[in-house]
């Protein structure tokens, strides 16, 4: 993701400015289910994966709930999604590769263009690369494997560690949590399964990269991360897709359990093309003195609805959500975060920064809840929005629900435009208006980028600059 060498033809101009990941490869898939979805398709996916009976039944139960469940009546308009026009399972290759060179040439080229193999060499402890419905490449540094760290795709996780998966799968996000969690539970494929043993610290990030290549594709990865006592892991995900005139659907479920004293950081840099509907459920449980941090960057997609959540279940647990959303032309970023204080002395911080331009709509939607008995809880929610032109829109809906009196809860939000004095100052120092605006925007999101590993911070700033191109006239 850090390096992209693209020919001019491959760099397609899009509504976002230049979207450099809009190319697609002609890769013939190994197997796929028919277009559309019914119970037979669900069973076919499970049978193809040779899953245990309980998982097949779980999928079917989830599918039935998906059919009955209404679309959410808030947030973005999802009525345009044509569930019958989507391919729900598409297996690109027969076998997962252990080496990038074992992948079909077209597909390898994709990963090279995205810079993943190179990044792996330089600064990652492990990489999973998902192409359509399956993880086609997976690798973990040997010393981590020797310490008992598990980093597998979810399907392999289920095959090789069935008991552990069965114990946790669907316990944090049940299949009936919402319509899209139900859909994911029915047709899930790929995603990551991670287990970090007690006391083990994974110092370099583990990265998963999600790529949709086909048209009308539905990608439903499923991730389960288990961080044991006093362990630490940083998981990074990136996502891109080609530009097509018809829509694709990405609907992931991510469940995380952080045991006593453990810490997990989950970083997303979502850069889907603007024909992708990105409807994701992410939730973590933090036990006693554990820390869960979501760093959630939403730059791409047509519509995103995603509110990473932390349930602070144990005394002294800490939760953070850092959210950044950039909504350009035709985009609606409905992002945010949810924190539930369930135990005494728990603390949380939500920081949201959103930018809307060229008619884009950025929304912060959040929930901060303090349950009965969560005495001594402290929380701070800060949401700032920047609107770059008069055609754009920003909304802020921070729900706060406090059922305990021994608490200290604060929320602040501001909406503003780029200050003329700031622009004037920067331009007086020789910057063009465009450069000056990009610099102000980079400064605005700095509280988020400074939390990213350096390479990603550079990438994030570069993406912001790309999206700022042509923003002032």
């Amino acid at each position: 993701m850090a390096k992209t060498d693209l020919t001019p033809e491959e760099t397609q101009a899009t509504a976002l400015g230049d979207y450099k990941f809009g190319f697609h490869d002609d890769v013939t898939s190994f197997f796929r289910t028919r277009r559309g979805l019914d119970e037979d398709v669900v069973r076919e996916i499970s049978a193809h994966k040779q899953e245990p009976e309980w998982m097949t039944e779980y999928r079917v139960k989830a599918y039935r709930h998906f059919v009955e469940r209404e679309l959410p009546r808030w947030g973005a308009d999802l009525s345009v999604i044509d569930f019958e026009n989507i391919y729900y399972y598409l297996k690109p290759v027969e076998e997962q590769a252990k080496s990038w060179d074992d992948l079909p040439p077209g597909m390898k080229e994709t990963w090279d263009k995205l810079g993943i193999p190179e990044a792996e060499k330089k600064y990652l402890a492990g990489v999973g690369a998902q192409y359509e419905s399956e993880v086609v490449y997976h690798n973990l540094q040997k010393d981590l494997a020797d310490k008992g760290v598990l980093f597998l795709d979810m399907d392999s996780g289920l095959r090789e560690h069935e008991d552990l998966v069965r114990e946790h799968f669907g316990t944090i996000i049940p299949y009936n949590d919402n319509k899209f969690a139900a859909l994911n539970s029915a047709v899930w494929s790929g995603g990551s399964f991670i287990y970090v043993p007690p006391g083990v610290r994974v110092e370099l990030p583990l990265q998963a990269y999600f790529r949709i290549n086909a048209e009308n594709m539905g990608q439903f990865e499923r991730t389960l991360i288990l961080v044991d006592k006093d362990a630490y892991v940083h998981y990074v995900e990136g996502c891109t897709a080609p530009i097509y005139s018809t829509d694709s659907l990405h609907s992931a479920v991510v469940e995380i359990h952080v045991a006593e004293g453990g810490r997990c950081r989950y970083t997303t840099i979502q850069n889907w093309s603007t024909n992708v509907y990105n409807l994701v459920t992410k939730r973590a449980v933090a036990e006693k003195n554990a820390t869960m941090e979501w760093v959630d960057g939403n730059l791409g997609s047509q519509i995103t609805m995603k509110y990473p959540a932390v349930l602070l279940k144990g005394q002294g647990a800490h939760g953070e959500v850092l959210s950044i959303a950039f909504a350009g032309k035709g985009q609606h970023q409905d992002a945010g975060g949810k924190i539930t204080h369930m135990a005494p002395d728990t603390t949380s911080v939500i920081t949201s920064k959103s930018i809307s331009k060229d008619g884009g709509q950025a929304s912060y939607r959040g929930l901060l809840q303090v349950n009965d008995g969560a005495t001594g809880s402290r929380s701070k929610v800060v949401c700032d929005a920047l609107i770059l032109d008069e055609d754009s829109r920003t909304d802020t809906y921070p729900y706060i629900d406090i059922k305990e009196n021994a608490v200290d809860i604060g929320h602040e939000a501001t909406v503003s435009k780029i200050g003329e004095e700031q622009l004037f100052y920067l331009m007086s120092r020789g910057l063009t208006e465009e450069e000056a605006s990009a610099m102000v925007v980079s400064g605005f999101i700095e509280p988020i980028t400074k939390e990213l590993p350096l390479e990603y911070a550079v990438e994030m700033n570069r993406l912001i600059q790309l999206q700022m191109e042509g923003s002032v006239g």
Binding site: D395, H411, A413
Partner: protein
């Protein structure tokens, strides 16, 4: 139920019929509707309350052509002041507002002609007197260009009942209105109200609402800043105990450039009470140079009390300054300790802290008379 129906003018009878038809098609709202998510009406049947007039006392006899008095009487005496305005600010497309439009028995008209100052504060007091009855109350305030007035309304119920209120405030260009409502209800009274103001060019509205009880009470308070230079200041205070429950929906809609709104709600919640405040700042397209603020601060005195602040911003213009804040906290143990070390009992110390919490609310109020009225109501409540 409306004694004057037979003699009412056709325009009003027609409006009532239309509202009745809407009212009958609309169900009683449930928790499934976003606006009613936190206020459960299960078991509440508005038809189970027999309408009863209650007691309406109207004080003040302003000069200068100001019309101030019973709305029912004014319909007969001054229909030309009412017909063009009644129902023009609050639409009857919501269950309780439609019910009010169909059934209102009486209320208050305040009409101030252009350039006239109504002088000393005008007052009205409404009391629901018969247990288990319903009272449909309607208020229409029209300030013509450059007019000025202060109007203080008190609603009280010593017995449980159902109060349905609609208030329409029209503040024309350059006018200034100060409007105060103080609710003091029996803990089992239900009050549902829709209050909406339109504020014209360079006009200003100072709006104060205090709630001292009432179960399952819900008030919509909407300000519409219709033209350049309009400004609105909304101040809310609530003090709840027992199982009282108050739910506010406030809207500050900026429809024109160079408009200012400033909203602050502060509340103290004791025992098992609950307050819900949902506030939206809406900035319409083209409403540049909007300056909007909203805050909700809650002090919880009991571990069983619950506060649900839901601030919201919906912004469609880019040259704006919009800020909101919400906090929920408890009595600071150090403050309590300090006051007790100076010889106050725990109860006295807490009283002083609660009173101090409301002080900034009182300080927002420009008029001394209004400030004193609210301070008296708060003191009586805090005890």
């Amino acid at each position: 139920m409306v004694s004057s129906t037979a003699t009412e003018p056709a325009w009003l009878a027609g409006a009532r019929d239309a509202a009745r038809a809407t009212y009958e098609t609309l169900p009683v709202p449930t928790n499934r509707e976003e606006a009613w998510r936190f206020t459960n009406l299960r078991g509440f049947d508005p038809e189970g309350f027999e309408p009863h007039p209650g007691t309406l006392t109207i004080e003040g006899d302003p000069a200068g052509g100001v019309a101030f008095g019973s709305l029912a009487r004014m319909v007969a005496e001054r229909p030309e002041l009412i017909e063009p305005h009644l129902g023009s600010v609050v639409s009857g497309d919501e269950k309780f507002a439609a019910g009010n439009a169909a059934r209102w028995a009486d209320g208050v008209l305040l009409h101030v002609p252009a350039g006239v100052e109504a002088g000393a504060p005008l007052r009205a007091a409404l009391e629901l007197t018969a247990e288990g009855t319903a009272l449909y109350h309607r208020v229409l305030v029209v300030l013509e260009r450059g007019a000025r007035a202060t109007f203080i309304e008190e609603f009280s119920t010593a017995v449980p009942g159902y109060l349905n209120v609609v208030v329409e405030l029209k503040v024309a260009d350059g006018a200034h209105l100060e409007y105060v409502t103080i609710q003091n209800h029996h803990p089992e009274t239900r009050q549902f109200g829709t209050h909406r103001a339109t504020v014209g060019r360079d006009a200003s509205l100072e709006w104060i609402a205090a709630a001292m009880g009432g179960t399952r009470a819900k008030s919509r308070m909407e300000s519409y800043l219709a033209d350049r230079g309009a400004s609105v200041k909304v101040t809310g205070a609530y003090h709840l105990t027992g199982r009282e429950h108050v739910d506010y929906d406030t809207t500050q809609e900026h429809a024109a450039p160079d408009t200012t709104s400033d909203l602050a709600f502060k509340g103290v919640l004791d025992e098992r009470s609950r307050a819900v405040w949902r506030g939206v700042i809406r900035v319409d397209k083209g409403a540049q140079k909007t300056d909007a603020y909203q805050e909700n601060r809650n002090l919880l005195l009991s571990p069983d009390a619950q506060a649900t602040p839901i601030p919201g911003l919906e912004i469609e213009a880019n040259d704006v300054r919009c800020t909101h804040g919400a906090t929920v906290g408890q009595v600071d143990a150090q403050h309590l300790f300090y006051l007790m070390s100076r010889g106050l009992s725990r109860r006295e110390a807490q009283h002083a802290i609660v009173r101090g919490f409301f002080e900034p609310v009182l300080e927002r109020i420009g008029s001394e008379t209004v400030r004193d009225s609210l301070a008296a109501a708060l003191d009586a409540r805090i005890g």
